[in-house]
Each structure stands twice: as C-alpha cells, then as structure tokens.
C-alpha cells in the first residue's frame, strides 16, 4: 500500500479513455456510467460480470459464522451477508509481476526520459517559429519568477543583439540551476539536462527565438510522452483487427472460382478427347467412309441427273412426285397424338426413322398448322410410303426430306 501514492481519478480515467478510443469525453463518460450501472445491476441479480483482460466481479454470499465480540469477549454470530469479490483475469497477475521485477521505478523513468529527450529534439527542430512553441506553465514559484524574467526578455528582444546575448546567458545559468532543482525532485537522469543545454546552444545560435522552451514542465513532458504512447497503441490496434467472416468469404470465393475454372477446363479437355477419339474411330474403320465416298460420287457425278430423272419417273409412276405435292391415298393407321408426343415419334414408330415425319405432316396438312404445335388428341393419319420415299438412306429422299423440313418448320 505504501507504493500507491497516485490514484487515477474518475475524471482522469474518463479523459484517458476518450483519448485512447478517439472519442469525445462526453461519450467516454456515458460509456463509463453505463458500464458501472450495468455491472452493478447484473451483480445484484447474482450474475457474475467478466471484463476482458481485467477480471471477474462476482457476488459472494458469506455463510453465517461464529465470532467473538472484540470489546466484551462474548460469543456472537455474524449473520449471512453478501459481498463483491474480484478475481483477476488470466495474465493480469503475470503482467503486473513482469513489469515489477526489473527494479520497479528506475527503468520506466529512464524510458520516459529517453522518450522525452527524443520528443524535445523533434520539437526543437520544428520549433524555430515561435508559433509552435508552447506557452509557459509555471510549476513552482521559481519557474514563476523565471517566467517574469522571460517576459522581460521578450520585451527587450527589440533592443540590440548584445543585450539579448547577455540576457540569454543569464537565462541559461538560471534555467540550468532550475533544472538541477527539478532533477533533484524528479530523480531525472543526466540526458535531460544535457539535452536542454544543447537546446540552449541552438537557441543561442539564433537569438531571434524566444526561449520559451527551456522550462518545460514535467506535466508537459508527460503529456507528450502519453501522446506518443497512445499513437503507437492506436497504430497497433489498427493493425490488429481480424475479421474471420471476411477471411472465410475470401477463401470461399477463391475456392468457387477454382472449381468453376477446373470445370470449364475439364469440359474443354473432354471435348478435345471426344474429337480425338472420333477421329481415331474414323481412322480405324476407313472402309465404311470409303464406301460412302465411293457411293456418293457415283450418284453426284455423271449419272446423278439420270438417276433423279429415273426416280422422278418411278415416283410419277407410283403417283408421287418429288418436286410437287404428293397425294397419299393409302393409310396404315390413324392415331390420336398423345400428350408430349410429336410427329417424329410417330414416324419412328411406323417407319423406323424419325426423319420421315415430314411425310406424315404432309398427309395431315389439311388440319394441322405448325408441325411442332400439334394439340393433344389430334388425329393423325399415317400414310403408306412407297419405295423411294420410305427409304431414308436414299440420297434423293434425304434431300427432299431436308427441303421439306426447312419449308415446314419455317412456316
């Protein structure tokens, strides 16, 4: 308990939280009040409250116990009562003890001083213009005296340079003594004074600068140090945030993209393979294709015209012409078209070839509109096909079928 000379008051706490979180003091105050109120409310309901990285507050019921009255020595019973217990969070104790082990007070002070010197360096570099210099805050009576001195100095700055130099020398002496006093008080280390002397040399070099810097108070230094600390802490916090959902989302999208890419790649590959395989098959069975080739030129070249003529003749003989309208007199069957069925299906059923549907359509053109828009239950007559028409392998018939298909489907 002897060490606890300082106490962070409610106002200070509010202030530093506002600074730490970068919000207004009003918000911090609102938050703190809410925190305390909620904690107390929860504790009164018997629910423990855990505050991260500090500890758990818990309501504890103390059982009634016997005791002795201090004054009279009588046996008394202390009745059951409740109290708030506090259990520090994991790591708090170790953190406290880590800090304390290396010579509790000296090291932090040194660090503070080092930081202070750094900051002072920076400020002296920047502080060539009197605007950036901070006004004095008299700490002691001595400093107050000195400020008085300084005001006189500022008044006399308009005088000759010699006078200024003299006065500055005086000031130097004064401030040095002052610093020594401060050092004795604060147990400040040597670098501070050295640094200050350096600063003064700089100021001596440019006498236009008003030496407002010299008696920087302990408060100011501490504030600067605090600011620096807070800045570093804020930076750390900025680096820290890790959003698991974001990471998950990114990985998921990458995974999905990879899958899609792989799928497309595989599809391409499969197509290539299929092509290769079909080519191979053609290479393996060249006889068939050759046969076809042999047959085809025979038809197309030379005798083609003759053959068509012959076919025409035969068709004419049987009452059917390839070029003109064919009439169907004989029918194999009549069938009501079932739902979802098409003419191609009927053609396959009766002729064994889907492509011959055009002739069925032709025979029923009187009561059909479009070959692919046939209503359910429409009665379809299936005509009997003569030789050249019923043979889909006949190139002429094939040509006719193609022509008719185009004609009917484009209606």
């Amino acid at each position: 308990m002897e060490n606890e000379t300082q106490k962070l008051s409610w106002v200070e706490l509010k202030h530093s939280i506002a600074r730490q979180a970068g919000v207004s003091e009003k918000t911090a105050s609102l938050f703190l009040h809410a925190l305390v109120n909620e904690t107390i409310a929860s504790l009164k309901q018997g629910e423990p409250v855990r505050i991260n990285k500090i500890g758990t507050f818990k309501m504890q019921t103390m059982a009634p116990r016997k005791s002795v009255h201090v004054a009279t020595g009588e046996d008394i019973v202390i009745q059951e009562y409740k109290k708030i217990s506090f259990a520090p969070d994991h790591g708090v104790k170790s953190q406290l003890n880590e800090e304390s082990e290396p010579a509790s007070d000296d090291l932090p002070m040194q660090k503070l001083n080092e930081q202070a010197t750094e900051i002072l360096d920076l400020l002296s570099d920047m502080g060539q213009s009197p605007q950036t210099t901070q006004p004095l805050q008299p700490e002691d009576t001595e400093t107050a005296e000195e400020t008085a001195e300084e005001t006189t100095v500022t008044e006399k700055t308009e005088d000759t340079e010699e006078q200024k130099e003299r006065e500055e020398e005086q000031l130097e002496e004064k401030t040095e003594t002052n610093i020594e006093m401060e050092d004795n008080k604060e147990e400040a280390t040597v670098p501070v004074t050295e640094e200050k002397q350096e600063e003064k040399k700089e100021e001596a070099q440019n006498p236009t600068v008003i030496p407002t810097f010299i008696p920087e108070n302990k408060e100011e230094r501490q504030e600067a140090v605090e600011e620096k600390k807070e800045d570093t802490e804020k930076e750390e916090r900025r680096k820290r945030p890790f959003r698991p959902w974001l990471a998950a989302g990114i990985t998921m999208t990458i995974f999905a993209l990879l899958l899609i890419g792989g799928y497309l790649f595989l599809q391409q590959k499969i197509e290539q393979w299929v092509n290769v395989i079909s080519q191979r098959i053609e290479q393996i069975n060249p006889i068939e294709t050759e046969d076809a080739d042999n047959l085809y030129p025979a038809v197309t070249e030379g005798e083609a015209a003759d053959e068509t003529e012959a076919a025409d003749q035969t068709e004419n003989a049987s009452g059917n012409s390839v070029a003109g309208q064919r009439t169907y007199t004989q029918f194999i069957a009549t069938e009501a078209i079932p739902n979802g069925s098409r003419l191609a299906w009927l053609a396959r059923k009766y002729y064994g070839n889907r492509d011959l549907w055009v002739f069925i359509y032709e025979a029923n053109m009187d009561h059909l509109n479009h070959p692919s828009k046939i209503l359910k239950g429409t009665k379809i007559r299936i005509p009997k096909l003569e030789e050249p028409l019923s043979d889909p392998d006949n190139p002429e018939t094939r040509q006719l079928i193609k022509q008719l298909e185009r004609e009917y489907l484009n209606r």
Binding site: L8, A21, F31, L32, E38, K83
Partner: protein, 90 residues
C-alpha cells in the same frame, strides 16, 4: 455475463453502436491495466477502487513432496467496493 454481453447491453442503453462500445471497452481495460501497471489505483465512481497490492515473499510447502520453497513477492490486483455499494449489497 461475458464482456460481449456487457458491451451489447451498454450499446443498447447508451444508443451507441456495438462496435463503438466494444472499442471503448478495450480502451477502458487498456487504460485500467496501464494504470495498474504503473502502480496507480483506479477509481470507479459508484462502484469501487481497483488497486495493486504487494504480497510479500513467503515460504510455501509443496503438498505432494513436502518440500519447502520460497515464493517471490507478488503484486496482485485488488478490488475494494465503494462503501455505499458494499452496504447496499449486504
């Protein structure tokens, strides 16, 4: 009640966002821990005070082996409730 529940409740009560409440909560714990680290007590209005207590080095006995060892001095955080709150709860 966990810290998360606490921050959520505070957010509802004060009308700030959960995120802001969370940030303030971390700031609060950091400030308090810093204060405790530098041997400062922290006063929480209407609630109590968090202080650091020095616990002297002591001799401890290992219950298994019976060997006696010296445990180093420790600093432990202690919470002392406000007098008013103490009486209220009692």
């Amino acid at each position: 009640m966990t810290t998360k529940e606490l921050t959520n409740r505070i957010a509802v009560q004060t009308g700030m966002t959960k995120k802001q409440a969370d940030e303030l909560m971390t700031a609060t714990s950091q400030v308090i821990m810093n204060a405790l680290n530098s041997n400062q007590a922290v006063q929480l209005k209407n609630f109590g005070t968090l202080t650091v207590k020095e616990r002297a080095a002591r001799e401890v006995t290992n219950p298994k082996t019976g060997a006696k060892t010296l445990k180093a001095a420790q600093r432990i955080p202690v919470f002392r409730p406000n007098r008013q709150l103490k009486d209220e709860i009692r």
